[in-house]
C-alpha cells in the first residue's frame, strides 16, 4: 500500500494530543468529590511503579546490571538524593558493572 507517511504522522499527533489536552482544558475547577480526589492522588505513584517494575530489570543488556541499577536507585532515592543523582548513579553502576561482566 502507498499511504503517505505524513498522513500517518498527522493522525498519530492529533490522537495523542487530544488525549492529553481534553482533561487539562475541560477540568477547570477543583474536583470536590473525596473519592475522585483520592483516586487522582494515588494515580501518579501507581502508574510510575507499574512502569518501573519489572521493566527496569530488563532495560539494560543484562538482568544483573539492571537489578544492580534498580537497587542503587532505591538506595539513593531513599536517602533523598535528587532526580539527577539517582538517575546518573544508577546509570554509572550499570556502565561499570557491564565493563566487568
Amino acid at each position: 500500500m502507498n499511504r503517505p507517511v505524513w498522513m500517518y504522522l498527522l493522525i498519530m499527533a492529533v490522537v495523542t494530543y487530544l488525549i492529553r489536552v481534553l482533561p487539562l482544558t475541560l477540568i477547570r475547577k477543583e474536583i470536590k468529590n473525596r473519592t475522585i480526589r483520592s483516586f487522582l492522588y494515588y494515580v501518579p505513584y501507581v502508574t510510575l511503579a507499574v512502569m518501573t517494575f519489572p521493566a527496569i530489570l530488563s532495560a539494560t543488556s543484562s538482568i544483573w546490571s539492571g537489578t544492580a541499577g534498580f537497587l542503587v536507585a532505591l538506595l539513593l532515592a531513599y536517602k533523598k538524593q535528587g532526580l539527577f543523582k539517582v538517575a546518573v548513579g544508577s546509570c554509572a553502576v550499570v556502565f561499570l558493572l557491564e565493563l566487568i561482566i
Binding site: L9, R37, V46, A55, T60, S65, A77, Y78, L83
Partner: protein, 250 residues
C-alpha cells in the same frame, strides 16, 4: 522556605524564571534518558523506512515512546489509518489519567493557553516531575523541563536515524536506566512519608510483575497493563484509604 514558595505560587508573577530554571535542571536526567531511548527509536524508524526528517517530526509531535514504537510497525506495514489511530488511543490512554491528575495540580485560574502548552508534553517523565512539586504547579516549571527534554527526545531520534551504529552499545545500555532511576527518585521519598503511598507502590509493583509472568494476562500490551493496574489499584486505595482533607495539594 515553604512559606516563600507558597507566596510565589499564589502570585505567579515572581519566580517564573526560578521555576523555569528548576524545571530545566530536573529535565536534564529526563533528556539524557530520552536521548538513549529515542536513539534506538531512530534506528528502528530508519528500518521502517522513515527519513530523518519524518522521524524527527514524529518525535516532535508525539513525545511518546511506546506509541511511536508501535506506530513504526503500523506505518511500515502500510496498515489502515484507523488501526494507527486506535493503537495510539489505547497505548497513550494513560496520559488521560495523568492529565486529569495534572488538572488538579494547576491553579484553577491557570489560563487556557498554559493548559494547551502543558498538554503538548504530558509524558510519563515530565508528568512525574510536575506532579511531585510542592503545592501548586507553576506552568513555567513544566516549560523548563520541556525545553530540555523535547530536544533530547527529537534530537535522539534524528541522531538514531543518521548515526545508528556509532554510539557504543554499553553507553546506550547504561543510559536506558536513566528514566527508571528518575521514576524511583520520584516515588520513593513520598512513600517514606505516607505509608499509604508505600502500600500503593508495593502492590503496584507486585501486580505489574505478576501481569508480566502469569499466562493470559502476560499477553496484554504494556500500555494497556499500565491503564488497567493504575485504575484498579488507585481506585482500591482511594476507597480503602481516602486522603485526609488537608492533604489536598500535596
Amino acid at each position: 522556605m515553604q512559606k516563600e514558595e507558597e507566596k510565589v505560587m499564589q502570585h505567579n508573577i515572581i519566580g517564573k524564571g526560578e521555576y523555569f530554571r528548576k524545571g530545566m535542571q530536573d529535565g536534564i536526567p529526563i533528556a539524557l534518558g530520552y536521548f538513549a531511548v529515542s536513539f534506538t527509536l531512530g534506528i528502528q524508524a530508519k528500518q521502517a523506512g522513515l527519513s530523518a526528517l519524518a522521524a524527527t517530526i514524529m518525535s516532535l509531535t508525539n513525545n511518546t515512546s511506546a506509541g511511536e514504537f508501535a506506530a513504526l510497525g503500523i506505518i511500515s506495514a502500510g496498515a489502515p489509518y484507523l488501526e494507527l489511530a486506535i493503537s495510539q488511543l489505547v497505548i497513550n490512554m494513560r496520559y488521560l489519567l495523568m492529565s486529569c491528575a495534572l488538572s488538579q495540580k494547576l491553579d484553577p485560574k491557570t489560563s487556557i493557553l498554559h493548559r494547551l502548552l502543558i498538554a503538548y508534553d504530558v509524558t510519563d517523565e515530565v508528568f512525574g516531575i510536575s506532579i511531585s512539586v510542592k503545592n501548586r504547579l507553576s506552568p513555567f516549571y513544566t516549560y523548563g523541563a520541556m525545553c530540555v527534554s523535547i530536544p533530547g527526545w527529537a534530537g535522539g531520534t534524528c541522531m538514531g536515524v543518521i548515526f545508528g551504529n556509532i554510539l557504543p552499545g554499553s553507553i546506550v545500555s547504561a543510559l536506558s536506566l536513566a528514566l527508571y532511576g528518575m521514576f524511583i527518585a520520584i516515588i520513593v521519598p513520598p512513600a517514606k512519608e505516607d505509608k499509604h503511598i508505600a502500600i500503593a507502590v508495593l502492590v503496584a509493583m507486585l501486580c505489574s510483575f505478576l501481569f508480566t509472568k502469569l499466562p493470559i494476562v502476560s499477553e496484554i500490551s504494556s500500555g494497556t497493563r499500565i491503564i488497567i493496574l493504575t485504575v484498579l489499584i488507585a481506585l482500591l486505595m482511594a476507597l480503602l484509604f481516602p486522603i485526609k482533607e488537608e492533604e489536598n495539594h500535596e
